[in-house]
């Protein structure tokens, strides 16, 4: 029995702030930052958008793209590190807003930037065992970076939803296999009640990102007996442009393979939505038969690798919802003062 993606939907708020503008406020060198991070602007949520509203918009896009009856959804899992409530699920809000309630299971996931792909894996298990007909896995974040912190240059907002199913005729992409590599690595965290995360600076690189991404990716290719040349496209978690480019090179993937999914230069890091957004952008361009290799990374730390094969059905549903490129087009640029207001960094009352 095949398991895979029945539909997908993405959402990106329309506001952007340029790296130059953030650097201007903090007196940093924008050119050094842009060339170092390979990020030029990032998305900013509206004042009335949060991880729940973004998750709902992405989920509605996924459901309308494939004209699926939402009552078939038996599980809703939302991955985020910016759930609006500390206690009270985001996933019940999503389930109600897409019309999937009441016969379903729901829960919120948290694993830094890979909570969304952990939700995909849980849904794969549920549909494989036929416990549910369709699972809705979402990665959504309004990522926080403390004012003046390095994270502020990349922490962005966006979300992606995947409908996971097991009926061969419905799949736009078969998930051929998945493999995870997880250790207890304190490279990034946010304590209860704290507004902004802390991180280990350069420690987030080698022992965090690169160790887990490369081990998850190599593990999956060994398990499946595949190599980078067997794939048409590749997507790696994109906290900035430099990390996924270097990870691809270390593993033997080319710049051409990662190009369609490398959305971070114009979007920033959408955390739980990051790798999933890259996969969505790749599905927007892929042809039937193409194979996509993807590896998500979450600090804390772990990597989830996926081998995906696109089916003929992609051409039937691709144009029925907004593509990632369309969501990135025509942004509204704001300055740092408006950005501070949108992100709640200014308390009015």
């Amino acid at each position: 029995m095949s398991v895979g993606i029945v539909s997908y939907g993405a959402y990106v708020p329309k506001y952007r702030i340029k790296i130059d503008e953030i650097a201007r406020v903090w007196g940093d060198d924008a050119e050094i930052l842009k060339s170092g991070l390979m990020v030029y602007e990032k998305s900013v949520p509206a004042v009335d958008e949060d991880a729940a509203t973004i998750a709902v918009e992405a989920a509605r896009s996924a459901i309308s793209r494939s004209c699926i009856d939402a009552q078939r959804i038996g599980a809703v899992y939302t991955g985020s590190e910016s759930h609006p409530y500390a206690v009270k699920p985001t996933s019940t809000i999503v389930a109600e807003a897409v019309g999937a309630t009441p016969v379903l299971t729901a829960a919120d996931f948290e694993f830094a930037c890979k909570a969304g792909t952990a939700a995909v894996q849980a849904c794969m298990g549920l549909v494989s065992s036929k416990m549910v007909d369709l699972g809705l896995a979402i990665g959504s974040d309004v990522a926080q970076g403390a004012p003046g912190d390095a994270l502020e240059y990349t922490a962005a907002a966006g979300g992606v939803a995947y409908l996971i199913g097991n009926k061969e005729s419905e799949l736009v992409a078969v998930i051929e296999d998945t493999y995870s590599f997880t250790t207890d690595t304190p490279d990034f965290w946010r304590r209860e009640g704290m507004p902004y995360p802390e991180h280990g600076g350069r420690f987030t690189g080698e022992p965090g990102y690169f160790k887990h991404v490369t081990n998850a990716a190599k593990g999956l290719m060994e398990k499946m007996d595949t190599k980078p040349a067997d794939y048409d496209f590749a997507v790696f978690h994109q906290p900035n442009g430099k990390f996924p480019t270097r990870a691809a090179s270390m593993l033997g993937f080319s710049k051409e393979q990662i190009k369609p999914g490398l959305v971070v230069p114009r979007l920033g890091n959408t955390y739980s939505g990051s790798c999933m957004m890259g996969i969505a952008a790749t599905l927007d361009q892929a042809k039937p038969g193409d194979r996509i290799f993807a590896t998500a990374f979450g600090s804390g730390a772990g990597g989830d690798a996926f081998s995906i094969r696109v089916t003929d059905r992609i051409d039937e549903i691709r144009d029925k919802a907004a593509k990632v490129e369309e969501l990135l087009a025509d942004p509204v640029y704001i300055d740092y003062s408006k950005y501070a207001r949108h992100k709640g960094k200014i308390k009015v009352a």
């Binding site: 009335d48 729940a52 509203t53 807003a97 019309g99």
Partner: protein, 134 residues
């Protein structure tokens, strides 16, 4: 700050999330917010739930510069009356720069935060409208 009891919001939650109203099969009239009884057909009416497409147009609007408590962070914002394709009108925030909003402008629904009960209370979600460029 929205001061509304949690059960009061929750009772109409589905209507706010998904623009679910009602329709009288007898006289073909649509209602939003939902009515349990058709005011024209009275006991002869046949009321059913109806999910609106959400597409509509701006009947009129105003720009709020001096906001109520809890909405200060959003000024200036646009509050308008939207006439849905099926007929009913409702009051909603229109998410767009004030100078871009016009009477007769086509709009479509989006899912947004309507407000919150301070820093500790409930967050209220529901439908607002944005310009429909299609």
């Amino acid at each position: 700050m929205i001061i509304m009891s949690v059960p009061r919001f929750w009772r109409k939650q589905v209507a706010r999330y998904n623009l679910v109203g009602t329709h009288c099969k007898k006289c073909d009239e649509y209602f939003y917010p939902p009515r349990n009884m058709c005011p024209a057909c009275r006991r002869e009416g046949e009321i059913e739930d109806y999910k609106f497409s959400g597409k509509g147009e701006v009947v009129t609007y105003t720009v709020i510069h001096t906001a109520a408590e809890g909405f200060e962070n959003q000024t200036p914002y646009v509050l308008g009356i939207i006439k849905l394709e099926e007929g009913p009108s409702l009051t909603s925030q229109i998410i767009s720069e004030p100078e871009t909003v016009k009477i007769g402008m086509k709009v479509k629904p989006v899912f947004r935060k309507l407000g919150q009960d301070g820093e500790q209370g409930m967050i209220y979600y529901g439908t607002k409208f944005i310009p429909d460029k299609c």
